[in-house]
């Protein structure tokens, strides 16, 4: 295919900002649908979106009766978007790996930098 083949997204906001939560999942799903290899690195407050039970309750738009965040997370996982978290961010939010939904991988800072160097684009939210 033409153009970039790898994109790395970085998600820094979490459940404290619902209106900022869905974009990374929607865009990464679109990228994966374009056959781009996609990963999302959840850091700072980002891992709170992946905590079990959170996404099912999170509505992106206040007062909305539309889809919850879980719908967008499932779409991303279904098309093969990879989810990554870092230990310091889990500690920041008092979360353990076993508190997270299935399909999330722990990586360190060096591995993140490697991914960033390998990706054609890095997009941060």
């Amino acid at each position: 295919m033409n153009g970039p083949t790898k994109i790395l997204y970085v998600q820094t906001s979490g459940a404290e900002a619902p209106e900022r939560s869905a974009t990374v999942f929607f865009l990464s799903t679109a990228a994966a649908a374009m056959d781009i290899e996609v990963g999302i690195y959840f850091t700072q407050f980002g891992p709170t979106l992946l905590k079990k039970g959170v996404a099912e309750q999170l509505r992106i738009k206040k007062g909305s009766v539309g889809e919850t965040l879980r719908h967008f997370i499932d779409q991303a996982l279904d098309v093969g978007v990879k989810f990554y978290v870092c230990q310091p961010s889990l500690d920041l939010n008092d979360i353990k790996m076993e508190d997270l939904i299935d399909g999330v991988e722990m990586i360190g800072g060096a591995a993140f930098n490697d991914m960033a160097l390998e990706a054609e684009r890095v997009i941060c939210f």
Binding site: N2, F26, M34, H71
Partner: protein, 151 residues
């Protein structure tokens, strides 16, 4: 016209369907070495009313089952997989401006792309007739409780 649970599959088209690949497309042999590709009405019903259509560029060579276009509704985004390896010859400007044509006229003005297959002999065997497709899709339509819009 083959029909499964109210969803239509015109008899003059060929089809490629595979739930595991999100592949639900029709093909029209244009008689000049090219095929027109579109989404079956079932796929349009599942995706919801489309708000965006982004095809691969003309001239791109797309492998079988790789993404031919990305379609988006307000709640869903996903690929339209290419049923036959080939080169993209033409994309649908009208659909780009009016994405919901894929919902309103999936077998006509809502076509996705025209391709020139490069491996047709080897891949033709994966294509189905309308009757075969209606039979293959019935369980999927039942399972997903899909309701196709009345044409």
């Amino acid at each position: 016209m083959a029909v499964a649970n109210g969803c239509q599959f015109p008899d003059d088209l060929l089809y490629a369907v595979d739930e595991t690949k999100n592949l639900f497309v029709w093909l029209r042999d244009n008689g000049d070495g090219t095929f027109t590709i579109g989404m079956v009405s079932v796929a349009a019903a599942v995706a919801g009313r489309l708000v965006s259509y982004t095809p691969k560029k003309v001239g791109s060579v797309i492998g079988q089952f790789k993404s031919l276009a990305v379609i988006e509704s307000s709640k869903w985004v996903g690929p339209v997989p290419n049923p036959l390896t080939g080169e993209v010859i033409e994309t649908n400007d009208e659909l780009r401006k009016t994405p919901y044509l894929a919902n309103d006229d999936p077998y006509g003005r809502g076509w996705i792309a025209k391709i020139k297959p490069t491996n047709l002999d080897a891949e033709r065997g994966t294509l189905l007739s309308a009757d075969e497709t209606a039979k293959a899709m019935k369980d999927y339509i039942d399972k997903k409780k899909i309701v196709c819009p009345t044409p």
